[in-house]
Amino acid sequence: MARYDRAITVFSPDGHLFQVEYALEAVRKGTTAVGVRGTDTIVLGVEKKSTAKLQDPRTVRKILKLDKHIVMAFAGLTADARVLVNKARIECQSYSLTLDDPVSVEYITRYIAGVQQKYTQSGGVRPFGISTLIIGFDPDGTPRLYQTDPSGTFSAWKANATGKNSKTVREFLEKNYTTEGVSTSAGAVKLAIKSLMEVVESGSKNIEIAVLKKGEDLKILEEDEVDVIVKEIEAEIKAAKEESE
């Protein structure tokens, strides 16, 4: 059986890696994901694709735990994410077994980005069609938010978005992110939901929020909890509009 050793991701004459750029296209078509880093709380929000009537919505999970203290969301090809998450989960336990220490957020981000890069420079494979948002608290308590993309680059962010309409969401975050605003848990959650509402049909049916507080386990907000905050935001917007008239 012939081995697959021909490289698929190769340079174009003007220095582009088209496969990587096409992968980024796939990411741009995926459902939106947003991350907001507060002082003692980090929030991930994802757009919930409307599920078919007969489908069990609990099985469509876009916010995934990598370890007890690290969570990630993604935009792009769900199946590719599954493979990457699996590798990351094994790495978290393997590191913890050898070092007797939980992974830092940066370490696991670097690992995931490393895997994504490997798949742009190996024979017979294509890049992963996902960008990830990885959140967690380092062992010393510092909150972290990182993003990786199909090219294998990663960077730390105070707040970011990826997927469909991520530019709009990111611009909203740039305009509205303040350190005081996210110093409380409620503030960080509100900002995440507000930013998602810019591009997603409002309502808890279409938004899923995961909250990671320092020292606590991941909490995925119930639909009615999200509804309460959405109504709050809608009331504020209405009030602001009436004031300006």
Binding site: R61, K65, L66, D67, K68, N86, R89, I90, C92, Q93, S94, S96, L97, D100
Partner: protein, 215 residues
């Protein structure tokens, strides 16, 4: 014609069971008590008297292990990380039986190449209530209402036969455990004065007595 005879041999010299690793497990109404003596000895020298031999695996599962500390810690951590990995992937909790059988499976796989010399009392609380599994270093497994590893069994299985009742309250269970510990103090030639005792209930695992370094 000659009939071939196969004989099974076990190298006796590999059997380096440590002398005084004693473990006791008791299942009650809504809890499992795991107790492990906390002495760590090398030959005639007591190296440490506050060793925690009960590895907590997750919120509702723990295993008390006996044997050489290298094998004990290595195997314990290996099992813990793999069970955590499985539960992260699965998005839920493994049943106690499944986790115990997984552990036994790993012992069995390693048995005929590089065996772990650990005896285990695996306790847990899941949707079926509290349960205790006895797993020995040859990878035999048995679900029991109460169990012992080490020399403790020689003295305490009969004591437990006498005093154990089904569905004991926590208070009664701890009384029975105290009878066991006192028996060893009276009749067992080696020092087992310090114990680490952990109690597993539906609310989690708590340290009842002794030092705790194995979370």
């Amino acid at each position: 014609f000659v009939r071939q005879q196969y004989s099974f041999t076990r190298k006796k010299s590999n059997h380096k069971q440590t002398m005084s690793d004693n473990l006791i497990g008791i299942v009650g109404q809504d809890y499992v008590i795991l107790a492990a003596d906390s002495a760590q000895a090398r030959s005639i020298v007591l190296m440490k008297e506050d060793e925690d031999k009960i590895k907590v695996i997750d919120d509702h599962k723990a295993m008390a292990m006996s044997g050489p500390s290298g094998d004990r810690e290595n195997f314990g951590e290996f099992i813990e990380k793999n069970i955590v990995l499985y539960e992260l992937r699965q998005g839920g909790s493994l049943s106690t039986k499944a986790a115990a059988y997984y552990t036994r499976g790993e012992l069995a796989t390693a048995l005929r190449s590089s065996p772990y010399q650990v005896n285990i009392l695996f306790g847990g609380f899941d949707q079926h209530g509290p349960s205790l599994y006895f797993i020995d270093y040859l990878a035999a497994i048995q679900k029991l209402p109460f169990g012992c590893q080490g020399y403790a069994g020689y003295f305490l299985l009969s004591v437990l036969d006498r005093h154990y009742k089904e569905n004991m309250t926590l208070e009664e269970g701890l009384q029975v455990l105290q009878i066991c510990i006192d028996q060893l103090k009276t009749r067992f030639v080696l020092n087992t004065k310090d114990w680490v005792i952990k109690i597993i209930t539906k609310d989690g695992i708590r340290l009842h007595q002794g030092s705790n370094s194995n979370e």
